[in-house]
Subunit: 340 residues, 2 copies
DNA sequence: ATGAAAGCGCTAACAT
DNA sequence: ATGTTAGCGCTTTCAT
């Protein structure tokens, strides 16, 4: 059988209560005893029993706070599914979830959410919001108070969060390039559409896409268009580009308004003549795939993102198990119409 | 707080021991009391507390038997990874795993494995072996004894197993067709290579591939070659086919020896001129992708298969939660060189 | 056939 | 600062 606090207590010549205090970093233990207990626990390779811990916490479950966009943001639907799946498995295992929905409209939403959750007794936080200074600061504040934070879907870089669970942005750009090179054999010209090159995530995709194409050779990126996530901007700029490059062979929609892109292609009378590679699976992309307007879309496995982030945080709090790497990338997968 | 056996016991006017007997189908309870307890449990929507159950089972963990090919069969490596991941999560949650490795060489290996596991006190079985009558019978025997069985990777059809966790074979054929149609635009000729059309799994892929191509139009399947998983057969037949169809555009390796396929293509001097779509990610396929000899490979998410099958069996035994569907399909994904 | 009670490993409130 | 003890919900052994 595995090692228990009882055994550690006996070997250290103290009570189980004291061992519990030491192992959970509670105050009120003489330093030398603390040392001794820690040493024995380490030597015996003590791992707490999840079931026992969960049962003991049953009266006062550990609160986990979740900061993310509200239900209206359908992009997060799949991520929510993953969180619920993990919640289902962890049901009765001593945790309780509290959600704080934020819109990323005001500057201090993230900070307020974190502070409120901590005030309500959260012992850990799952966080997904824009990568700005205010959020970085408040995450670091939480860490200072000993409350671990796991970011998901969108990282807060340079913060002290335990880890980030999300997509490998570089890889999605590379895969897009790989797909283009396979459907456009030989010399070809492609256009890149992106929402905003100021955002790290958007830039990463484009950069890796270009770099990969450069290695492959033969395919030229004629232009990179910024649509700022607005239909109008995207549509207009794309119209111009399609006129300017009548010999275009493909479009990579790195980020931004896929609907506008398809409309512009149709208006140019190029339906079916251009190879189009997208990211994610918004409703319009799904429809585009079904109708043959889009060839491929690259996914970031949102369900896994939700699931893994909650699991990782649970393990961190309950068993003290640190994630193997600071970056937990979910699988980057390719979808075609037949995948749906 | 949630409903406990204590509450049910009070409402039914019996002891907790009796409630436990009823809820776990143990003998020695008067039928009318059994009825009453069951009714109350149902009415109160009783769900057992996993943590408490796991802790109680700590002394005598529930044994789960796993029947699958031995470590030498590298195809199962990823599946094993998934099983280990689930085991990790379930560690300390009242289970213990026992493996029975079989080679599918002799007729009664599966039956023997199941019988041995049951003799050793298994309360549930994970099963992956060839779909034959002997295995079907022994699975049904296990079920008769109240021991749930979950098949994974390869189903035992018509058996009374609780569910099957594995790939949607039809879908992989359809995706292969979709990929072909995207890389071979317009009129084209493709060849299908399969190990053995007598096997249901192999046939399914080929059928769905052909059906999908028929709908898409334009692409003709010139021949279906059986390689029987042997290098020689595959290589020789493919050589002949390549000579017979000098205007071939692509090859779909539904199942079988991918290495032989690549060698035959090279020998015919067609390297890089044919579009090749494979299944799975054996070492030779991975290398083929890297070297640009293979364009796409279709995956059956083996890690998920291992993970989900163990989780499902655990939930079945511990919480009585039945899987939502008899067929639990793992995601079918597409890989290219850049995905690696 | 049924009840009572001990115990699984851990936490937390209470005692010293 | 440390020990003691009563649970958490369930299983299981021992009485009755």
């Amino acid at each position: 059988m595995s090692v228990t606090i009882r055994e550690i207590a006996m070997q250290a010549g103290v009570s189980r209560g004291t061992v519990d205090r030491v192992l959970n970093g509670r105050t009120g233990v003489k330093p030398e005893i603390r040392e001794r207990v820690l040493a024995i626990a380490d030597e015996l390779h003590y791992v707490p029993n999840v079931a026992a811990k969960a049962l003991a916490y049953h009266r006062k479950p550990i609160r986990i706070g979740i900061v993310m966009p509200p239900k209206e943001i359908t992009f997060f639907d799949e991520i929510r599914k993953g969180i619920h799946a993990a919640e289902d498995e962890l049901k009765g295992l001593g945790i309780c979830l509290e959600y704080a929905y934020i819109n990323n409209q005001q500057a201090d939403e993230g900070a307020t959410a974190i502070r409120t959750l901590i005030a309500n007794g959260a012992s850990g936080i799952l966080f997904s919001a824009i990568d700005d200074e205010a959020n970085r600061v408040s995450i670091n504040e939480a860490i200072e108070q000993g409350i671990p934070v796991v970011t998901f879907n969108s990282d807060i870089e340079g913060s002290k969060r335990s880890c980030f669970v999300g997509q490998d942005l570089g890889k999605s750009g590379e895969i897009a390039a790989g797909l283009m090179s396979r459907v456009l054999r030989g010399k070809a010209k492609v256009l890149v559409v992106v929402a905003n090159m100021k955002f790290h995530a958007h830039r990463m995709r484009v950069q890796h896409f270009k770099n990969s194409l450069a290695i492959i050779g033969d395919i030229e990126v004629v232009e990179v268009i910024e649509g700022f996530d607005r239909y109008e901007d995207t549509f207009i700029k794309l119209n111009e580009a399609l006129q300017k490059h009548p010999d275009l062979d493909g479009i990579y929609m790195a980020t931004g308004h896929a609907g506008a892109c398809m409309d512009a292609v149709r208006r140019a009378g190029k339906d079916g003549q251009l190879r189009i590679v997208c990211n994610d699976l918004m409703p319009e992309v799904e429809q585009g795939l079904r109708e043959g307007k889009i060839d491929f879309t690259i996914m970031q496995n949102p369900i896994q993102q939700g699931y893994r982030s909650l699991r990782i945080l649970y393990d961190l709090i309950f068993t003290g198990k640190k994630p193997e790497s600071e970056y937990q990338y979910t699988e980057t997968s390719i979808l075609i119409a037949e995948s749906l």
